[in-house]
């Protein structure tokens, strides 16, 4: 019985630097969103300086 040929992987990857840079950027954006939401909440509650 002939052997079946090995299936090749079709896993996609972004080129070089983007594989590293994109998750870092997304992490920074997520942290910044959290900070911004806290600031908005603080402003709404009058807790922020200059409110």
């Amino acid at each position: 019985m002939p052997e079946r040929p090995e299936k090749s992987s079709t896993r996609r990857e972004y080129p070089g630097i983007y594989e590293k840079a994109v998750p870092i950027a997304l992490g920074i954006v997520a942290a910044a969103i959290a900070i911004l939401l806290l600031v908005i909440l603080a402003v709404a509650l009058g807790l922020f300086p200059g409110s």
Binding site: T10, A25, V29, I33, S51
Partner: protein, 246 residues
């Protein structure tokens, strides 16, 4: 007249006007409702910049102040975010949220244009009065509106762009849209951070945040709508990784 407080917002006004025209042109070509609301949002951005530039050049004007606060401080983020809602959410929910946003905006128009204002209140221990500030509003409850609109704008516009970028990255597709959405998310946050630092007394922070925010969102929009000719992800075969000719 402080030239930096005229030039910075005038640059924001110019860039956001060009941006709005490009978005509206794309809307006329493709008819996506998300493009219509992004265009409307960028018009609001431009109005805010124009009002700031006017104040820097000519000084206090009560109509200009009201227009600045309404469009630049209250409405802009929420209406930009509404475009993202139309892009990502089911049409029914987008229409419902639009109805709520429209009603809230009409209420904001009424409150801002009936509010008592006092320009001397813009000058405090932390503010020189050279930038426009919501402190000029005397009537209670008006400035309280702003965080709710900004919260909606942050979640929809910034969150929506970040979510889109994450989805594209997770699937390793459309790299240009991943990059574009990250730039849009960062750009959309800069005016808010600029306003925050301005509250802390950092001079020109608001206007710088608005300008760089517009720049990044513009670059992000161009990037997201322009496929990259190279550096697109391609399927990787096990044979090529192991050195065997594929």
């Amino acid at each position: 007249m402080n030239s930096i407080n005229t030039l910075l917002p005038f640059a924001s006004f110019t860039l956001s006007t060009v941006f709005a025209l490009l978005v509206f042109r794309r809307y006329l070509q493709r008819r996506g409702p998300h493009l219509l609301f992004w265009g409307i949002g960028m018009v609001f951005y431009a109005i805010g910049g124009f009002c700031e530039a006017y104040y820097g050049a000519f000084g206090w004007n009560v109509l200009v102040f009201r227009l600045w606060y309404l469009f630049g401080a209250i409405l802009v983020a929420a209406w930009l975010g509404q475009g993202t809602v139309y892009l990502l959410a089911k049409r029914r929910w987008a229409n419902i949220s639009l109805a709520v946003l429209a009603a809230a905006s009409v209420y904001a128009v009424f409150r801002v244009f009936t509010a008592q204002v006092d320009p001397s209140l813009m000058t405090t221990s932390l503010h020189t009065g050279s930038e426009l500030s919501g402190h000029a509003i005397v009537t209670g409850g008006v400035r309280t509106l702003t965080p709710f609109f900004n919260l909606y704008g942050t979640v929809t516009l910034v969150g929506g762009a970040a979510y889109s970028a994450w989805i594209f990255w997770r699937k390793r597709v459309l790299l240009h849209r991943t990059i574009g959405n990250i730039l849009i998310a960062v750009g959309a946050m800069l005016p808010a951070f600029g306003g925050t630092f301005s509250r802390m007394g950092l001079p020109n922070a608001l206007y710088l945040g608005e300008l760089f925010g517009a720049v990044l969102m513009f670059i992000g929009f161009i990037r997201a709508t322009t496929p990259m000719r190279s550096a697109q992800p391609a399927p990787e075969s096990t044979a090529s990784v192991q050195g065997t000719p594929s």
